[in-house]
């Protein structure tokens, strides 16, 4: 069983062309998800297109009232960025809870989106921030990005280039409840904003989701209603990490805490 080809395009355009021209190719950024699957032989791509060092996917900048984060920027880069600290501190809070140093150094924001795990730690923050996914060909509002279990709105040959986070001063509070203090996958992960009303939750459905009725209650200033509603907005299951009962209870309790603390 040969290894997939390893290709390193020098520019975004070349990367997109390679992806389009190579059936069953996979873009490779940090590799923290992809290499696990490759070694376990749960995937068998024909080629890995290494986009990790493409300049178009790097950099954290301010532009047009938004924070723009290159898709291949690592969690560590987010943690070190003064811009992220100033304009999207919840994103840094989330990045700090991903894996531990080794994963934070390699894993990327674009990778977290591309993998689209319902447990992806940064994803509720991006949902609560109304981030926009800038690809090689269009922009996708994050609310339309997750279309199913580990499935996204991206075309097979489409690359995430940047993530645009509006710089509108909204205060997002973040809390991850994981299996342990570090190197943990979340049982429940929340990002919450009072104004505008945003309640985004991970690990409680097949996709990271925004709790619509909870947000509606919150927008009316009805905190109790929001806490009650979030229990109906989510669709948690029993799995190897936790139980549906626990996830629902903790989502509600943590939401109340984040709204009142």
């Amino acid at each position: 069983m040969p290894y997939p080809r390893y290709l390193r395009p020098r520019a975004l355009r070349e990367a997109v062309e390679l992806l389009a021209a190579t059936p069953d190719a996979r873009p490779l950024a940090g590799g923290t998800d992809l290499l696990v699957a490759l070694h376990a032989r749960t995937i068998a791509p024909t080629a890995l297109i290494d986009v990790g060092k493409l300049t178009e996917l790097r950099g954290i900048t301010e532009a047009d009232g938004a924070l723009e984060i290159g898709a291949a920027e690592s969690y560590t880069a987010l943690l070190r960025s003064p811009l992220v600290a100033r304009h999207a501190s919840a994103l840094a809070d989330a990045a700090r809870t991903v894996g531990a140093a080794q994963i934070q150094n390699r894993g990327t924001l674009g990778g977290n989106l591309g993998t689209a795990s319902p447990a992806g730690d940064t994803l509720p923050v991006l949902l609560a921030a109304d981030a926009t996914i800038v690809t090689d060909r269009r922009t996708i509002p994050i609310a339309a990005f997750f279309v199913g279990y580990r499935r996204t709105a991206l075309a097979p040959d489409e690359l995430i280039v940047r993530i645009r986070v509006p710089r509108d001063g909204r205060v997002i509070r973040f809390r991850k409840v994981g299996t342990r203090q570090a190197q943990a996958i979340s049982k429940v992960v929340l990002a919450v904003c009072r104004d505008p009303a945003r309640v985004a939750v991970g690990s409680v459905a097949e996709v990271p989701l925004r709790a619509a009725t909870a947000e509606a209650a919150l927008a009316r200033g009805d905190l109790d209603g929001a806490v009650e509603a979030v229990g109906r907005d989510i669709r948690p299951i029993d799995d190897v990490r936790s139980t549906a009962v626990y996830r629902r209870a903790v989502t509600q309790r943590v939401l109340r805490r984040l709204l009142t603390a």
């Binding site: 040969p2 032989r41 531990a100 342990r180 190897v240 990490r241 626990y246 903790v250 309790r253």
Partner: protein, 708 residues
């Protein structure tokens, strides 16, 4: 007639923090573990396992689309010797020929020149079996692997006369050893038709016996050499025999070296675990707290085969009453078979399970009596002259009071919670742990060691004890050096190799220092005398003879169960998040009576490591088995504590020498595992008011209890 063991150390290495023998190799990456060993031309092996928990193997299909000439396949029909993994009972086959008794049952073996060919071969092999309804729950199991009863006094009468009787049922989970180096063995055929095994293993002579038997070879044809061992914790006590047999079968058929290194998933799914079980207590006391009776029933899930279950049960039962002197005790224990991967040895060997229940029982009894559990323990605990549950009268080195006082003294005032949703609490637990094999076990082992004095003045210690991180090579050198009166660096501890070292027994049961170290000390005393008259080279051999006061009745499980016991007390502080049920252990004091601490930092290291393993046991660690299959067979899903989860563990060593131990030492390898779990669960109760009589006390269970 045993030679008196020296207990006075000259100005030597005992009690000093001498540098570990293996330290330099381990910090430079030069230490060679099994997977680091290179054998040119070696093939890679893999085990083909069942896909049903219980069934009958009908056929193994070999897809003709694959060229089977490229690989070697072994099935039960190829086994030249007896198709058993020789241990206590010959019930476990090396490869199932017909009956499948658990989901990971080995059915066939494949070896190939490279990973890809091996993978392809596995993909082209299909196992056909008829599935049968498995028994997966110990509560509905009926097939008994072991049972025993311990009786002291008249429990029924004491229960009838008691002022207070408390009954509780406790449950303990299935814990994975999770050594960081997975299981592995490399088998190398030799010119005489024999086989040499290199592997990650604790007990070279166990492997030697098992491979000899299954391969139908003579003892001289099989050589077992442990590589550097990357953690074991009992997980590499009996299981490596199976890995080694498999590697050897492939190597013989392929006529070349074969590497059989497990990946993590296979290791977690297939290898032995700590016995899960149910422990029921009925405890009686007078109103003033004085002890009347303990009536204890233990039921363990042994999994599909006997493995070491009878001895695990024995140690569990002997320790089930805790370190207490109760006049009337009845302990009934059973191990039942289920169609799950076999349970086996894991640090503590049944005692962590049974003492978890015993210690929580002290809490429940104290609550019923309206007294502090610490006062209650002081009333109950063993002191010199008291008798244990097996009616053993303890003559010396009983450290209960010493460790309790020391731990309480070191405990700091609890900090206030940092947020309104957090609650803090403290729990205390006491434990003891017998050193060496139980009862007549050491007689039967009759361990042997040798000491050699070479013409150039080197002292060589020959034993079968493996270094698996616990410090064997360092501490045996210390014992030999000080008993002989030579500098520590003149002593070499020879790496075990069954063709060169005598059988000093397995590296298990907290026995290396007390039993084997004791033998080394005796041999050194004899060598010292011989040096006055003989010219080197000199070789001295010693065979273990138990202390002459030991009396043990195997039929009634009564008498001197162990020559000595270590004692420990843990004070654990926890912080509980009421929103999520998350538990963090914030501070932990562990006081230990090791007899004499031969190497204090290494003793502390044993304590600290065992404590964290036990914190994991108490809070987050549990293998989940569904339909006979382990669900969390990855490191992403079987969760152990990280550095961010660990408290700073403060160890207090309270020396309390035992006259029969080398320089006063007792065995301390397992006791670190015994006390932390009940201390943590008691601390959770102190913080929240909720009693969880079941571990792991997961956030899911705790939150459910908090809500109701």
């Amino acid at each position: 007639m045993a030679i008196p063991v020296p207990t006075e150390s000259p100005a030597g290495s005992i009690g000093q923090a001498v540098p570990r023998r293996d330290g330099r190799a381990k910090v430079t990456g030069r230490a060679r573990y099994t997977d680091d060993l290179v054998f040119p031309g070696a093939w890679l092996g893999r085990t083909v396992r069942s896909t049903v928990a219980r069934g009958v193997l009908r056929r193994i299909h070999f897809d003709p689309a694959f060229d089977w000439q490229q690989v070697v396949v072994v099935t039960a029909a190829d086994i030249p010797g007896d198709n058993v993994v020789a241990l206590i009972r010959d019930d476990q086959p090396a490869l199932a020929a017909r009956d499948i008794r658990h989901r990971e049952e080995p059915l066939a073996l494949i070896a190939a020149p490279d990973r890809d060919t091996l993978h392809l071969a596995v993909q082209h092999l299909r196992v056909e079996c008829d599935a049968l309804a498995p028994v997966l729950d110990v509560e509905s199991a009926t097939d008994e692997l072991a049972h025993l009863t311990i009786e002291k006094g008249d429990v029924d009468r004491a229960l009838a006369d008691a002022d207070v009787v408390v009954e509780r049922t406790f449950r303990v989970g299935r814990q994975e050893q999770l050594y960081i180096e997975p299981q592995g063995a490399i088998a190398v055929p030799t010119e005489d038709g024999g086989i040499t095994i290199y592997g990650s293993l604790q007990c070279p002579y166990y492997v030697h016996r098992a491979v000899t038997r299954a391969l139908g070879l003579s003892a001289a044809q099989v050589v077992v050499i442990p590589a550097e061992v990357g953690g074991a914790f009992g997980g590499k006590e009996e299981y490596p025999s199976l890995v080694a047999i498999h590697a050897a079968l492939l190597a013989v058929k392929a006529n070349r070296p074969v590497r059989l290194i497990y990946d993590r998933q296979e290791d977690i799914a297939a290898t032995t675990k700590r016995h899960p079980g149910i422990i029921r207590h009925r405890t009686a006391a007078r109103q003033d707290g004085s002890p009347l009776a303990q009536d204890i029933e233990i039921v363990f899930d042994g999994g599909a085969y006997c493995t070491l279950s009878p001895v695990v049960l024995s140690r569990a039962a002997i320790h089930a009453a805790g370190p207490y002197a109760c006049p009337n005790v009845r302990i009934r224990g059973r191990v039942l078979a289920t169609h799950t991967p076999p349970s086996g040895a894991f640090r503590g060997f049944g005692a962590p399970q049974s003492q978890f229940a015993a210690e929580l029982m002290m809490e429940h009894l104290a609550e019923a009596l309206g007294m502090s559990s610490i006062d209650l323990r002081r009333r109950w605990m063993l002191r010199v002259g008291d008798t244990t549950a097996t009616s053993q009268r303890l003559a010396e080195s009983v450290g209960t009071e010493l460790v309790l006082d020391a731990a309480l003294q070191q405990a700091r005032p609890m900090a206030l919670p940092t947020s309104p949703t957090l609650r803090r609490g403290r729990g205390v637990a006491l434990a003891y742990h017998g050193s060496g094999f139980t009862g007549s076990g050491e007689n039967k082992l009759a361990s042997r060691v040798a000491l050699e004095y070479t013409p150039d003045g080197e002292v060589r210690v020959l034993t079968a004890q493996t270094e698996m991180g616990q410090g064997t090579n360092t501490v045996l050198a210390q014992i030999a050096a000080d008993a002989l009166g030579v500098p520590w660096d003149r002593v070499t501890v020879v790496p075990p190799d069954t063709s060169t070292v005598p059988d000093s027994g397995p590296t298990v049961a907290s026995r290396t220092v007390l039993i084997v170290g004791g033998l080394v000390a005796q041999a050194a005393v004899e060598l010292r005398a011989r040096l006055r008259t003989d010219r080197p080279p000199i070789r001295v051999e010693r065979t273990y003879v138990p202390p002459d006061w030991i009396r043990w009745d195997d039929a009634h499980y009564r008498g001197d169960a162990y020559p000595a016991y270590a004692f420990a007390c843990v004070v654990a502080d926890v912080e509980v998040d009421l929103d999520t049920g998350e538990v963090r252990v914030t501070d932990l004091v562990a006081a230990l009576d090791p007899g004499r601490a031969l190497h204090p930092p290494m003793v502390e290291g044993q304590m600290e490591g065992g404590v964290l393993q036990a914190i994991g046991y108490a809070t987050i660690e549990e293998l989940k088995v569904d339909g006979g299959r382990v669900l969390n067979d990855r490191l992403a899903t079987y969760i152990i504590p990280t550095a961010s989860d660990a408290p700073r563990i403060r160890t207090v060593l309270v020396e309390n020498p035992y006259s029969g131990g080398p320089f006063g030492a007792k065995g301390i390898g397992e006791i670190p595992m015994d006390a932390p779990a009940p201390a943590v669960v008691a601390a959770i109760h102190d913080a929240t008011g909720v009693w969880l009589d079941e571990i792991p006390a997961t956030p899911e269970k705790l939150l459910a209890a908090l809500v109701t």
